[in-house]
């Protein structure tokens, strides 16, 4: 496929937003059970608004993918069958609850709504955070399933696609949360940094598994099934147009195979190889600058990873477009 910048930015930016929120709410959940000190409301409030900014940036990027953005509202119609439609519904829902979660913290309007039998008071932000957590995962699943549900794009048609969207979004979000904590609540850097390391490690495992799997795929469609002629040697001599068409532009990345081979180790190093040891170092010596550098390096790596994710997928329609003529 030909990777579209709009979709690369959409999927990576909302991933950071979701991950950052999940990190903040993880801390709040621990604090709820007194496993960690409860932070100032501003820590959660501004943090969730920062997450909201990332999801908004992703939403803006997504509009650049549409030919007719003024009709975007129509895309919520087919939620019964289309994962894209589901994403279109879940993303604003997540953003809305995220806003309420942040606003509730910042405004101090956080009454205890339910008291558990144990005497534990459940605040409004806990309930809002719980809903937002479910929506964050629903959004990860919707985004991943947009790609994983396309059965003839064999590179994507695997549960690993959804798992990796969750892990990679989570890794970048928790890394950002660690940086955020280093600035506003240095005592929490270790907790969030620890989770960032664990999720980045899981991301490395998940992405390596999908790379391993995809390297061993055998395409189900061949030129023989594409045109229905049983002969071992079929060569296209003309594709019906000399000047190229939508079908030649949309489904091929246009880069050399050497570029594709080079970008694979590059994103593995940037997204996992460098951030992991640096995160470990920053566990003992937290530094805002170092964590900032880790976040930027990892995000750059994840941009390259998402580019490769699209470029690697080989659409069977390419069988019909191999020779200009």
């Amino acid at each position: 496929m030909n990777p579209a910048l709009s979709v690369i930015f959409l999927t990576t930016l909302i991933g950071i937003g979701q991950g950052l929120f999940l990190a903040l709410f993880t801390q709040q959940s621990y604090a709820l059970f007194d496993l960690l000190p409860h932070q100032d409301a501003r820590f959660y409030g501004w943090g969730s608004l920062l997450a909201l900014l990332f999801t908004m940036a992703g939403l803006v990027a997504s509009f650049f993918h549409l030919g007719r953005p003024e009709r975007a509202w129509r895309s919520a119609a087919q939620w019964r069958t289309s994962w894209l439609s589901r994403e279109v519904i879940v993303l604003p829902a997540f953003m809305g609850i995220l806003f309420l979660y942040g606003a509730s913290h910042l405004s101090g309007l956080d009454p205890v709504l339910v008291t558990l039998p144990s005497g534990l008071g459940i605040n409004a932000t806990v309930i809002l955070g719980g809903i937002a957590t479910m929506l964050a995962f629903a959004l990860f699943v919707s985004t991943g399933m947009i790609y994983a549900c396309l059965r003839f794009l064999q590179e994507w048609h695997t549960p690993l696609t959804v798992i990796n969207f969750i892990l990679l979004g989570g890794a970048s979000g928790f890394t950002l949360a660690t940086l955020y904590a280093a600035i506003l609540a240095p005592a929490q850097t270790g907790f969030l940094g620890g989770w960032a390391i664990i999720i980045t490690l899981l991301g490395l495992l998940g992405r390596s598994s999908s790379l391993w799997r995809n390297a061993r795929l055998r395409p189900k469609s061949t030129l023989q099934t594409a045109i229905g002629i049983k002969h071992p040697r079929i060569v296209q001599t003309a594709q019906g147009a000399m000047g190229g068409s939508f079908s030649t532009r949309e489904f091929f990345h246009g880069k050399k195979a050497s570029f594709l081979h080079a970008i694979k180790p590059a994103f593995m190093v940037l997204a996992f190889g460098i951030p992991l040891p640096l995160l470990l170092i920053s566990m003992s010596q937290p530094s805002v600058w170092l964590l900032g550098a880790i976040f930027i390096l990892q995000y750059t790596g994840l941009l390259a990873e998402r580019w490769f994710f699209f470029a690697e997928a080989n659409h069977p329609q390419n069988l019909y477009y191999q020779t200009i003529g």
């Binding site: 496929m1 993918h65 009709r71 119609a77 894209l84 296209q236 001599t237 003309a238 069977p316 329609q317």
Partner: protein
Amino acid sequence: MTQLALVIDLNVCVGCHACVTSCKEWNTSGAAGPLCDENPYGADPTGTFLNRVQTFEVGQYPNTETVHFPKSCLHCEDPPCVPVCPTGASYKRKQDGIVLVDYDKCIGCKYCTWACPYGAREIDEKQKVMKKCTLCVDRIYDTSLAEIDRKPSCVKACPTSARLFGDIHDSESAVSQAIRENGGYALMPEWGTHPANHYLPRRKTHLKIHEDELERADNPLKVDGKLPKPSKSEPTLDDVTSW
């Protein structure tokens, strides 16, 4: 239930592209607006087509065969492009099985093209909506046209009758018979899309000779019953007569 479809006979397609130009002409002139081209006379021309003819070489020289392969939307019976559409612009008509795009609802997200293994859809780069073969839905039901003209324009244009049009769910239709009797097949059966359009393979060409081609039907001698029947040993008329 009706499922309209094309049956394309690769045995007689000569790759003349008449169906391509005829399709373009009809579909760029309709109420839905033009099928836009960009730089049609420039260095890098490109444009929107609903039908294309491709050419493949099968075999190793000198045992090769050139196969011309017309390709348009196959109007799958289980179209993967329809459920993925977020707006419902892509739909399959219940009454005749034609897969269509509502150009007023399409947001141009291109997701349907990702979901089509055949590359049958092309975005109109100027109108920014998805375009695809409509089986000339604006022709085949047009009662202002003569009955014989109510066919897709590609079918009308084909000089070798390589394109048949009809209902493949009607077992007595010409298309169903052609599929049944001439080994009609569907493309990429491995994905379970059940394309409605079928292709007829290359096969031994049978010459059909009608009775009146063997013996001249309007021979005046035959009409009058005076056909001379000399025995083989007798001299013929040419032997005994100088004209």
